[in-house]
Amino acid sequence: MSGWRRFFFLAVPVLWVAVAHIGPLIAMARISLMAVYPGPPGMASAFSLAAYAAFWQQAGFRLSLLRSIGLAGAATFTALILAYPIAYYIALRVSPVRRARRLALLAAPFWTSEVLRMFALVLLLANRGVLNAALRWLGLSTMPVQLLYGTGAVLAGMVYTVFLSMLLPLYAALDSLPRDVAEAAALDGAGPWKRLWHITMPLTSRGIASGVVLTFLASLGVFAAPALLGGAGIPVFAITIADLFGAASGRWPLGAAFGFILLVVGSTLAGLLAVAVGRVVRESSPG
């Protein structure tokens, strides 16, 4: 390729990534440092750290971030516990012909919008929902049991939103596992749990780590689940941020600062989590 053609060929994608992918995050960081935004037209807003100070000073904001982190951690752990045996089963126990079909079947519910999935959970958990109807029918309760609008419902909703980002990396890792290693260990007399803990999991530690990172980050950003299943009592950080961008738009800098804080804290924690998971899993490997 000639010089200018090569330049054009490379410049367009680099620009797209810089402007469309990185640009909005930089814009968010910039707004977070302004006193007012959107301000009066033609006026540059003054530099201000007030938004970050507000986060530091008000316990409610910090609590909401902590709640998000706790829920995201719990959702990630739940997804890992559910997804690992399933990925293991599909990758190593299902015949190659059926493997793709089993995976697609499990992934199918996640091809629907997260709003529909949350709606489905409402129908399941509501006071007039299926679970309560079943409880009444079985004679276990006379009054409706409050299942919706609590931490448990939000957690279930989060797992239902992000499960695929755990399943797919785990499946990819388990699918590329060298099968003869486990067979050799079995011949040496290692039991199933020993093989899982000392061989299979260490060999798939990178898949576990990437599943944990992707799922944790996705869980931090979930909005529909707490909005539809959470009720007013448990505002997670995503709800706090969204409210700041609501009709009274004077609080955009605060919302932008919270978005930036969530991004920095979330990716730092995700990184630490990946390292920790990798270490725990690898230390269990015998050699």
Partner: protein, 264 residues
Amino acid sequence: MTRHRVLAAVYWMVLAAFALPLALIALTSFAMGDLVGFPLGALSLHWYRVALSDPDYRHAFALSVALALGSATLAVVAGCWIGLAAASLRCRWAELTLMAGALLPLVTPGIIHAVALRIAIQMIGLDPGATAILLGHAIHATPYAAIMVRARRATLPAEQVEAARVFGAGSFAIMFYVIVPWLRPALLGAGGLAALTSFDDFIRSFFLGGYDPTLPVLIFGRLRSGLSPEINAVSTLVLAIMGVACVIAAQAGKFRTSRVDLGI
């Protein structure tokens, strides 16, 4: 073989846990009453009539379909270009940097991405509305196309490009007669995935939308203002459309389930 059975049981139980709630939507859509709840009571198609005659749903559906097609096209072009540029870079670090930047919208938590996009369109003076959503969805889906094209490009035998060059093809001819045809499965897969994520997307549409809601945003709004039974009918229709689309895609043989195709 009992361990095998236990694992199989876990698989089917989790599948049921994920699939049955969606079946509930379909089941309740045939109930007659004004209140969504169990037991269902008499069955009818009443709420389907209500839903189909509601212009809000028709408009939202049309908007969602148009946005899915438009944003998928844009995402495939952008992602394909990124993937090919990354593949052409000699320096490994430059390639990794470009691909990392390309993946950013995929790993940014949803709420942060939506808010950042909302601020960005405000900064460039674009009002919330269909154009803003189109751009947001295209940006969100670009990583899928970039990964899939990059992976597919790596499987193109170098001899094919060499042969074309020996026979006198220029770089444009090589691009459009050798490389792009080779990428076809990746482009189709990425396009389908991009259209699906756009059609399903809630958080970006919610923040970037103006007065005309997309279908998920409309359903979200109706859900928040109380359960009205026609939501079930609309949701069931959407599920049915999705199901048919999945079957068609599977029949066409494009339903390959490598990790790339499923969007990781």
